[in-house]
Symmetry: C2
Subunit: 198 residues, 2 copies
DNA sequence: TCCGTTTGTAAGTGTGTACTCACATACATA
DNA sequence: TATGTATGTGAGTACACACTTACAAACGGA
């Protein structure tokens, strides 16, 4: 049996490895989502996290593992958001649950990070580890939407097709400007009905 | 007035710059679609094209311009394919034309290149030149589908949402295997109805 | 046949970056 | 207080790659 003494009002200088991992992961999601896997240096993630490059390698092993960990975190947060959205649905009918989940996903567009990291990961999916994590994350999302909405398969498919369209318009920056109005007509075709929150 | 003499049965050793550009572009589409913008070296494109790295730089200026040229070529080929598909439609009704275009796009899945290069370009879209070419290409495709099908805006949007779903399942390799049968249920949800040709 | 132009290469150069390692200091426990 | 462990850094290494340049050979018109 081991006793742990809490450092009460401790003047603790250093963080625990666990705390650092959290900080690094948050920074990694942000930086990787902006520049992608290959164009992002581990050093830039370290700088964004406020620690040295060497320590990032000690914490995560190598760049690939860091990216995969960030991707896993990304899917976790999306899963949570969709799940919470489903909980907030006004009824348990398929349509209501799907609408609520779509609303929840649309709100993530504001946090470009989570959408863009998926885009970056898809582009890096020829790496087996990245691909494996993508499959894992996508499977969990599809099963979540299917199980919570109990909608027909074709309806669930449409939900994810819309989601992929969100990725396109977000990556191309078609939806960051004013909602409608003076946008070109072809842009409106792609963005109509895609809700965007500031 | 200038007279041109065709090298008849000429024992021409060297290609013209135009011919080389074609060969390099074809190779660039293939290689960039596999490894993406940042992970692909200009040298690997040169090797695939069978010429020296230095000459590729002479022909295209720099890596960015090479990638953008490959992307433009990619959109050209997709545009042609969709246009030809529309021509082959059994009737001029919106549904028939859209179906024919969807079929034409589905046939491109077999040539993974054109789909994957779009995925790679989307990930590299923070580069202004890449983003500009993506916007140009996407605009031409949206307007083509809208004008040829004369379908409602929402229907055209659905067409492109399905297209984006194609990119996901192609990039994750969910559709390269046997059509259906023993695939996991969540995979079937995403791939059902997406035609795949060998 | 001469000569300017086009086609083509090989061997650089400089920079960025993935990853390592020696070393130092904070921390917790006995 | 002594000591082992966890936290953290900075400098260094090796290598890949974007891009340049000097040079050579083929072409084609006069």
């Amino acid at each position: 049996m081991v006793e742990y003494t809490m450092p009460t009002t401790s003047a603790r200088i250093r963080s625990t490895a666990g705390e650092r991992r959290e900080v690094v992961l948050t920074a990694a999601v942000r930086v990787f989502s902006q520049s992608g896997y290959h164009a992002t240096s581990v050093g830039s993630v370290a700088t964004a996290a406020g620690i040295s490059e060497g320590y990032v390698f000690r914490l995560f092993g190598d760049k690939q593992k860091l990216f995969v960990a960030a991707l896993a975190r990304c899917f976790e947060r999306i899963h949570e958001a969709l799940s919470a959205g489903a909980d907030a649905a006004p009824s348990r009918r398929s349509g209501a649950v799907l609408d609520a989940m779509a609303l929840a996903y649309a709100k993530l567009i504001a946090e470009r990070e989570l959408l863009m990291l998926q885009v970056q990961a898809l582009a890096a999916a020829d790496d087996p580890a990245v691909r494996a994590e993508m499959l894992r994350g996508q499977q969990r999302l599809v099963e979540l939407v299917r199980d919570r909405s109990r909608a027909a398969d074709a309806t669930v498919q449409k939900f994810f097709a819309q989601g992929q369209l969100c990725h396109l318009v977000t990556a191309l920056g078609l939806v960051t400007a004013a909602p409608d109005e003076k946008a070109e007509s072809w842009v409106r075709i792609l963005t109509d009905g895609i809700r965007h929150f500031e």
